[in-house]
Amino acid sequence: MSIEVQSGKRGLTDPAMAGTILAAIPDQPLDTQRKMNYFVKPRGRRLSEYEVLCCYAQPTPDWIPGGLDWGDWTQKFHGGRPSWGNETTELHTTDWHKHRDPANRWHAPYVKDKAEEWRYTERFLRAYSADGQVRSIDPTWRDEVLNDYLGAFCFNEYGLFNAHSSASRDCLGDTLRMSISMIGFDKIDNAQMIQLERTFLAKLVPGFPESTDEPKKEWTQGAIYKGARETVQDIWQATYDWNEILWSAHMVYDPLFGQFVRREFFQRLSSYYGDSLTPFFINQMQLYFSQTKDITGDMFFHCLGDDAEFGDYNRRMLRAWTDKWLPRTVNALKDFMGIFAKVPEIKGVTSKDAVEAALDRVLDDWKRDYADKIGYKVDTAALIKTVLTGLK
């Protein structure tokens, strides 16, 4: 038999070729270690498939803590800046490869989840439309609040999405890079879901504007999102430390401003205005928020805040970054208070006492789940008082 075979011949099925192959295979395996990445320290009791497929994919040298490679970069930026370097962040660790997504999501489970959400979204919209539920939405809520202000929130999510580009380029570990890319992807998904809702409403409500013109005008020129816009712009383009980008976006701004806007405004109020559509989308965003919270919690609290050598230093840096980003976030919330003058008032729902209670929930959550974990002292009552000065 010739060793050059015709194109399309397969060694598994061609009898002569298969015979040759089987004859070359030893009777016994040459090694007993059948677990890939057996040298990796598992987070749980056993190495997960996620850890097998993701850990140490990155070829970093050992002078970046946790790296397994040696030597220098084979090509650098013009001028000699390294491909990846410790100087890209103020934070330190003994191991940049330590992070794990608590949900163990590598690419396949991640897209499987999102694909299921998409399929269900399509089915839901068809049922919602056929059921005529759109008739029950309060017209002002629909045409002014959803169109202009939910529409404008699309840009908030789009800006935060873009803040992940440099973080996904510059971060120093493989599991970090995958997590950062995925939580960034969720943010553009949020932005697209908002436009999807507006497009859907435009199909059901003749005259409802599908265009992004009005929402963009509100985002770029309006007063309600002014503080938010300025903060998002700074997170996206004025911040170079990739850890600071993630900290400011996911540990300060979004758990406060994002949570208030999504959960305490659109989600809480929509049912009062006969809107059962918006909660469907906001709940998906809240799912992503929850998953992101687990991921960034692992990054900043478990890996960096509790690092055996640099934990104290890191927590100090995180407190300093919080000092920088919290006032901007509070200012964004204060500006957002102006939205309550735009909605038809419902006592106990949009009145000051209800807004204050909503702010209290958000700030209390943030204090417990974020600030306390790095020893950040915060007077939530004072912050609420500041925010409420924006209430018209």
Partner: protein, 527 residues
């Protein structure tokens, strides 16, 4: 429209038509371009000398959820095949040993390329200004995570099922030892992520993906299938379905800069450098893996190269970009010469340095030698005789006390490493075009093997300072290096690397290597 009238209109519309309504991905995507806004600080963190247009479109118009749906369907097919029918057929252990070893390298090194492409496309996502263009790069970021996981899955699968899991099971730790590693990092890692963002796109998308993924991801599946491996085609062809999007991204990168007249000053130089960078490694390494790492041959590498690289890419693909001022690289002609002998030259060196691998290599058998001679006349006289001599000295047998590296020293054939490509070469023995040039800079000597790389270094030496394996290991004994860099099997004494795949052959141990007392030296010190 007044608010109350809108509600009435919605009610009336429902009365006329109660058919279910949904929204498709395209209806959302068509608004994407309007998602951005201007602000003072809006500029990329990765400056480029090119100007990317604000209105660039993407060809694959996806939204996040639709992307996930498409990829999830592909995953179901692929993992279904792997975990069901291929496992029941014991397909992972019905692969020819020579090819099973090749996949230790091919899958892991491709994984490095895919992994670094996550960061590369993250950089492009940052650099582009048009939301659609950003979206195209974003989908690629996710694709590259997918491909990293898929390549890992090939090694994972072979670790479980193939008869020699060593190397598959710890490639991410042991891959750094040998002579193929640093060159791979240049093309697949740093070449994608370190530099002007558009230059990196040219490396990754215009050359790496549009040119070399065809042989690396498509042609390899034919070689795999011929050698009994159905795992690789199942995974790699699924990867290739995404590569079309990446090629389109590369095309759109060029489109985005084409209207800027200044682009023409740089574009063809950057393309030429990128092509030479990529081909300098891929041409010899792919040819070596296919022809020397297989039992059954599909066709001579030079033919594959001519079809995919020279005609398809250099002619048709680059031809399509001609209207944007793109020209076939000037170095294409020199690369064509490399496609004939360079992989034979490289195998000679790779085999000489076999103990530093994380895979088993095999000398060509008599029938393979005849095939080489038939397809590359003059092969036996130059290479075949050397292999006969090595075999006669017992290079496969641990009791021989001989590894071919000793033959190079005995015969005064120093092996150098090209500073720019990190590819090893032996100027006194190579049949290809490599010639030795040495420069001194910053108190250090640097060797080069060709004009194009030397020119890149002379222009920007600070970009290419990486020490090579001989500089790194100089003065250290071989077994010490192997042990330190985890080149041992699970018994703690047998080498992962071996100079044969014979089922009856003895396996070399660390003690066998230690007896050789082989100490690394840097050949540049002798100049």
């Amino acid at each position: 429209m007044a608010i109350s009238a809108a509600t009435k209109a919605a009610t009336d519309a429902l009365a006329v038509n109660r058919a279910p309504v949904s929204v498709n991905a395209q209806e959302v995507h068509r608004w994407l371009q309007s998602f951005t806004w201007d602000f003072e600080k809006n500029r990329t963190k990765y400056p480029t000398k090119y100007k990317m247009a604000n209105d660039t479109k993407e060809q694959f118009k996806l939204i996040a959820k639709e992307y996930a749906r498409m990829e999830s369907v592909k995953d179901e097919r692929q993992f279904g095949s792997l975990q069901d029918v291929l496992t029941r057929l014991d397909a992972g252990n019905r692969v020819h040993p020579k090819w099973g070893e090749t996949m230790k390298v091919a899958s892991n090194f491709l994984e490095v390329g895919e992994y670094n492409a996550i960061a590369a496309t993250g950089m492009l996502w940052d650099s582009a200004t048009a939301p659609e263009q950003k979206n195209g790069y974003l989908a690629q970021v996710l694709d590259e995570i997918r491909h990293t996981n898929q390549c890992g899955y090939v090694n994972y699968y072979f670790s479980k099922h193939y008869h020699d899991p060593a190397g598959h099971n710890d490639a991410r730790r042991t891959r750094t030892i040998g002579p193929l590693w640093k060159g791979m990092k240049r093309v697949f890692s740093d070449g994608f992520i370190s530099g002007d963002a558009v230059e990196c796109s040219i490396n990754l998308q215009l050359v790496g993906e549009a040119c070399f993924t065809n042989p690396l991801i498509v042609a390899i599946t034919e070689w795999a299938a011929a050698n009994g491996d159905e795992i690789t085609p199942t995974v790699f062809l699924s990867i290739e379905t995404d590569e079309l999007r990446h090629m389109a991204n590369g095309y759109q990168t060029v489109v985005s800069i084409a209207n800027d007249e200044a682009s023409s000053k740089y574009l063809n130089t950057d393309l030429n450098n990128a092509f030479w960078t990529q081909q300098k490694y891929f041409t010899p390494v792919l040819g070596m893996l296919f022809e020397y790492g297989s039992k059954f041959k599909v066709e001579p590498w030079v033919k594959t190269w001519n079809r995919w690289v020279y005609e398809d890419w250099g002619g048709i693909w680059i031809g399509r970009l001609g209207k944007y001022g793109v020209e076939s690289p000037a170095s294409l002609r020199d690369a064509k010469k490399d496609a004939y002998w360079a992989h034979h030259d490289l195998f000679l060196l790779a085999y000489a340095l076999w103990p530093t691998g994380f895979f088993r290599l095999t000398l060509p058998s008599a029938e393979e030698a005849a095939w080489f001679e038939e397809n590359y006349p003059g092969w036996y006289e130059h290479y075949g005789k050397i292999y006969d001599e090595w075999r006669a000295r017992g290079c496969e047998d641990p009791n021989s006390g001989f590894i071919p590296l000793m033959w190079f020293i005995e015969n005064n054939h120093p092996i150098y490493i090209d500073r720019v490509s990190q590819v090893p070469f032996c100027p006194s023995l190579c049949k290809g075009a490599s010639t030795l040039r040495v420069h001194e800079w910053n108190g250090k000597k640097h060797s080069f093997s060709d004009d194009w790389g030397e020119r890149m270094w002379l222009t920007e030496p600070e970009r290419y300072e990486c020490q090579n394996m001989f500089e790194q290991y100089a003065g250290r004994e071989l077994s010490e290096v192997i042990a330190e860099l985890h080149g041992l099997r699970s018994d703690g004494k047998t080498l992962i690397a071996q100079p044969h795949t014979s089922k009856d052959g003895k396996l070399w141990t660390l003690d066998d290597i230690k007896k050789l007392n082989c100490v690394f030296s840097d050949p540049l010190d002798a100049l």
